[in-house]
Symmetry: C2
Subunit: 339 residues, 2 copies
């Protein structure tokens, strides 16, 4: 099979060059740590006059740009640690980033719930603990298709990362203690649910090969962010039917009850058209209306991608006044600027 | 050939459903005009207490989402008029939108320089003139590959639309007269240059067929926003060589002289990975450094797409203090929120 055509230099350099390009795209608001693929906010909170701020470190495998590296900035993360493509960042890099951003109040880690990330972030925290830095974790487990609700710790993190990092960013900016920032962020994570649909696979830059194959008339519901198998491979149907099926899995899971208010995210996995996402949005809103669920805020676009995978995911975050406050707080980064 | 796989309902309804989804994604900040595919800011400037504001109407063919429809909002356009896929909006819809947003100070039109758009916006302006509404135009002609500089009126509008609309939005918000808003917007347009590279074609939803074919190892430099032929079809080379070639066409065209400062936009045409755009950004910055050109602000992501075309365009806008002020002014819409 032909390699998927992409405009790259040496494929061995994709992550180093991506990180370099991201820092340049931030127009001076981030820098790269010496010796590590860690993107750090610049000026730091301390340099900007905010002493003793709770640190926020995010990260995971590369290849999902603009997450996580595009979420470093004011009201968002203090640093992002970037692994190789679809691979967890190293414990050393995590520990170095933790030391860089800690200002005495401790550091909150937010990352997707994948075995490699869990292991390496835990080892990074241990290394940082040797330097007397307190660390707490929020692991995002929003993908309802990854495991049944009873085994929520087996669920993976997908686009819901965006909402959890956004709220963590505001909480770490405004809370006096790591425990309080953790409490708010953990609540956001617990209230977030997502499900995806894949239309075609993405490819890994080094191999140039798609990570799976779908038939010319097939889609897959519940596909993971690296091409992990979903819950249903099926003939492609009308958009409204696809959305209905996804919403039927999403709404009862938390559950999102009549009268509640949510933030809605429709995330492009890569190559789908904005048209398809907007067409889905009509039907999502119809389903939410039917369920008596209100929408406080909509985000639609590319946030967590799987290279050039075609498809999208739907994320709902159930809000209360506290979460709404932190979701709406100002933020500024390469991938997310609001307020 | 198999239809390109997309998650749609009836393909005859794509534009109506896209517009509906866009309005819903705006969380109450836009509405749809009765009887027309026109997205209008809500509350209007007048309803928000800004009387006698110069109106800003943007628009063009659909299929390029999030432009133009995603640029309606505070600090941006008062309305966007949406044609069929890759087809100019009707004079009737343009005239109706003009009447809806005029508050006595006249209306500025900003749109891409395509024969169909020019004809229909001119006819719309004539109809609006019958109602004693003054209209002025800025036609975006940023694509350096579309025609030689001597025939700049034959050049098409591509992603540079974003910068021109952003500056027009701020100018129409703050200027007392249509002539003054036009002057600033026309300067922005005159200072904007773009060039694109296509890796693969997009398809039209109704036919499901790609608009052109490229070989498995080919790219095309200068491809237009609807798949119009570019200046060079060639074997794909390293990213740095592709960028060097594009910058060599871009920099001397205005020209962007040593010591000047620009805003930089790297626009994803649809299906390219963010990784490719970030990798390009490194080299673009290298070329700009070599040319002694400084970067005031970088935008990177999906702004003007050609369905699922893979590829990207590079846009430079030469800034002065006035343009910088309007570029940096706050804005809020589905596709663009800053400050």
């Amino acid at each position: 099979m032909q390699r998927v055509k992409k405009i790259l230099n040496d494929t061995a350099d994709v992550v180093a060059e991506t990180v370099e390009g991201l820092v340049l795209a931030s127009d001076g608001t981030t820098r790269l740590m010496d010796g590590h693929r860690v993107i750090v906010r610049q000026p730091s909170a301390r340099e900007a006059g905010r002493k003793g701020k709770v640190g926020l470190l995010v990260g995971g495998g590369s290849g999902h740009e603009p997450l996580f590296s595009g979420l470093v900035g004011q009201g968002l993360a203090d640093a992002a640690v970037c692994g190789n493509v679809f691979a967890a960042p190293s414990p050393d890099a995590i520990a170095a980033a933790t030391q860089d951003i800690d200002d005495g109040a401790g550091v909150l880690y937010v990352y997707g719930n994948y075995a490699g990330d869990v292991m390496n972030f835990d080892m990074g925290a241990e290394l940082a603990g040797d330097e007397d830095i307190t660390v707490r974790n929020v692991r995002v487990r929003d993908d309802v298709a990854a495991a049944p609700k009873e085994r929520i710790d087996d669920r993976r993190g997908i686009a819901g990362d965006l909402f959890v990092v956004k709220i963590a960013g505001s909480a770490c900016e405004s809370c006096d203690t790591l425990d309080e920032a953790w409490r708010i962020t953990a609540k956001a994570e617990a209230n977030t649910r997502s499900i995806g649909v894949a239309v075609s696979a993405g490819s890994i830059p080094e191999t140039g090969k798609p990570t799976f194959e779908l038939g010319d008339d097939e889609i897959e519901i519940g596909m993971g962010a690296h091409g992990e198998p979903g819950v249903s491979r099926q003939k492609i149907g009308p958009a409204d039917a696809v959305v209905d099926q996804m919403m039927a899995a999403l709404l009862p899971d938390l559950p999102f009850e009549r009268g509640c208010e949510v933030a809605l995210l429709i995330n492009n996995l890569g190559a789908s058209t904005m048209m398809e996402l907007l067409i889905a949005n009509r039907r999502i809103r119809h389903c939410l209306d039917q369920a008596g669920v209100g929408v406080h805020r909509t985000e639609i676009g590319h946030f967590l991608t799987t290279q050039e995978m075609a498809g999208y995911s739907i994320t709902l975050l159930k809000l209360d006044d506290e979460l709404k406050h932190h979701l709406d707080a100002p933020a500024r980064s390469v991938a997310y600027s609001r307020g």
